[in-house]
Amino acid sequence: MANYLLKRVLMLFPLLIGITLITFTVIHLAPGEPVEMQTAMSPKVSAASRARLREFYGLDKPLHVQYGLWLSHLARFDFGRSFAPDNRQVTDKIVERIPITISLNVIALILEFGLAIPIGILAAVHRDTLLDRGISVFVFLGFAVPTFWLALLCMYFFGVKLSWLPISGIHSLGSERLPALARYWDVAKHLLLPVAIATFGSLAGLSRYMRSTMLEVLSQDYITTARAKGVRERAVIYKHALKNALLPVITLLGFSLPGLIGGSVIFETIFAIPGMGQLFYQGVMSRDYPLVMGILVIGAGLTLLGNLLADFCYAFADPRIRHGRG
């Protein structure tokens, strides 16, 4: 077991380096560079000042030297300074945006699983009834409606027409002077629409998945046996069937962990939520290499970590894997 763990952990390093090498190459292949974005079409910029800017950012060095420098900084956990004019530490930029993105994603994820699982079970148990069809229509509606459009409609209705909810942002003006409890309520009101709409949009996948695994389990012999020996229907479903049907869903939960630090650009833009999606998008559009690389490395790291954890769990549950014979 220890041997297997060690092997898996050691494997991470070449993987991570491979990922950074590819992303570094790809982002540099995109036409234009940071200096370009700041100086293009500006009459006040001479070739000399452009060269000066390039030198300042180290863009005058050959690509492999730039990569080597970046990697050696990374080895010391230094993501470098952003190429945007603010020239701030990439870590600072990421750290100030991660909390809101993670909280939003965690809440949405909990809601998604909390709603999709019961919905899926309900649909499976009442298979082919009006209820099942109604649920299908509902979740696919959420899946099919463009979220930005729904978001705008809801903002208009609840924000402008009814004035029940704030439209955008995560704080009201002057909320910093409110008592703590009122401040939380203020944030909750701001997050209600984004979370509700994000959840509505993602119900379909998980609930349909839940429905089909549940149906599969329900058609198995041991369920028939359970029913034959007179177990109550509730117990059949929630005790015998559900446990087995949930297993693959839990794997899905594992997969969604790396997604927690990613934000949706469109969503964050519409609701003016200062999250990771916007930061990354702006980074790419302005060719802010250190920022883009920083976010990608963290994302890649988390993905690898997630996979590793999943593998460990499998290894724990399945002896064939940890003995390397699977």
Binding site: E36, A47, S49, T269
Partner: protein, 538 residues
Amino acid sequence: MKLRRRLALLCLAAALAGCAEEAPRQKPRGQGGAPAYGDALVTGSIGEPSTLIPLLASDSASFDIAGLVYNGLVRYDKNLNLEGDLAKSWEVSPDGLDITFHLRRGVKWHDGHEFTSRDVLYTYRVTVDPKTPTAYSEDFKQVQSAQAVDAYTFRVRYAKPFAPALASWGMFMLPAHLLEGKEVTKSPLARHPVGTGPYVFKEWIPGQKLTLAANPDYYEGAPYLARYVYRIIPDASTMYMELKAGGVDMMGLSPVQYQRQTNTPEFLARFNKYRYPASAYTYLGYNLQLPLFQDRRVRQAITCAINKEEIVQGVLLGMGKVAHGPYKPGTWAYKEVVPDPGYDPARAAALLKEAGFVMGKDGILAKDGKPLSFTIMTNQGNDQRAKCVQIIQRRLKKVGIDVKVRVMEWSSFLTNFIDKGKFDAVLLGWTISQDPDQYDIWHSSKTEPKELNFIHFKNPEMDRLLVEGRGTFDVEKRRACYYKIQDILAVEQPYTFLYVPDALPAVSSRFRGIEPAPAGIMHNLIKWYVPKQEQTRD
């Protein structure tokens, strides 16, 4: 598209810049009420400022804030004439080489230090320092020597008379006592600026908002509005809803919003709408290195074939003016009547025939068996430009010119096509600078890659006039040069100038004291006020 303005301080004004003859269409509602201190102005911005050290910034959001926190030595007044700001007055020596600024006494930085010539000298030095990654050193390269004569006198000497020089001192002054001897790129002032301006920086919540507070010691008197809040709202439709819900007090409307969505009695009671020409124009530029466009008659013919009025109506819903040249209507360099061909499809056909094109069976003109066909490129994400290209495409088709359209992501567009000269024609726009010097855009020496005369316009008479126009401080002589330049452009048609759009701001009607002028509405922000009984934000 950003043509860097002569004056950083005007970035704010230019965003809402306007023209005297075009007073607001709607009469301001909500008149009356005595001036009172208090309340806050909340505005929205699509982008977040990058750095509040203006020397290092290149985005308009940064200048929106910097314009309220800092001052320059000079600035443009509401009629777009230069006036003293931190300099009470200045003298230009008779030979035009020396400028002496007499600084205002008793102006305080927000931390209480006094503003002196030491700050001016520092700002100049850090700007031209080769280690400073700034885009604004070019104007100051012409300076031969700079000297702080005494604490309140600052003198610069130029190698040759350079008219845009004076305006260049509108650059925002930085506090020497906080920056001298330190690396300006790593200074905390980038996130927490200290200036001399009417508003004091309070806080910046990244991605959400910036807050400024009135400076009680401002040299022109404390502003009435106690706070200025700059919210970052990246989506334009969201911002419009925030405006209607009262989350922001002011925003620039789109033509559709101005014309079709805001004429309800409810909206008009709550907001005042303003309208005046923006400091920008949109044009169709031709690659003059291609044989096709080297023939002046072809360029003239295209201009004749395009109905600019139709574009203004179709794309801007009438919220703009047809352009004939690169200056803003109503400014001193603008020439009203130029020998521009105008909309005349018959003349277009005649010109093309004269140039040797014959109508083919497919309805496309051709010369020596080659069809008259080219591609217009424009950048992605600008809906008005995309519509404009389609209208042009249809009009040119009518006279027998086949136009293809290509829309590209901005940075690929510049790197792969503009810089390499690989384009036929482009539909783009320029911001119009306050100073009429356009050497960088039209002079034949500015045709290297990444320089702005990317269409390769070369005209000896034009070159001479451009040099003459920037080499004298005499406004009448300069005007004569720029009038001739506009005549040349009208005849040569290196660009087909299309339109100057209108700026269409809407401001909550509780704000009083707004005075639309050629410089827009923001020029007298410190005089805006909300009467006591109408104040809503504490």
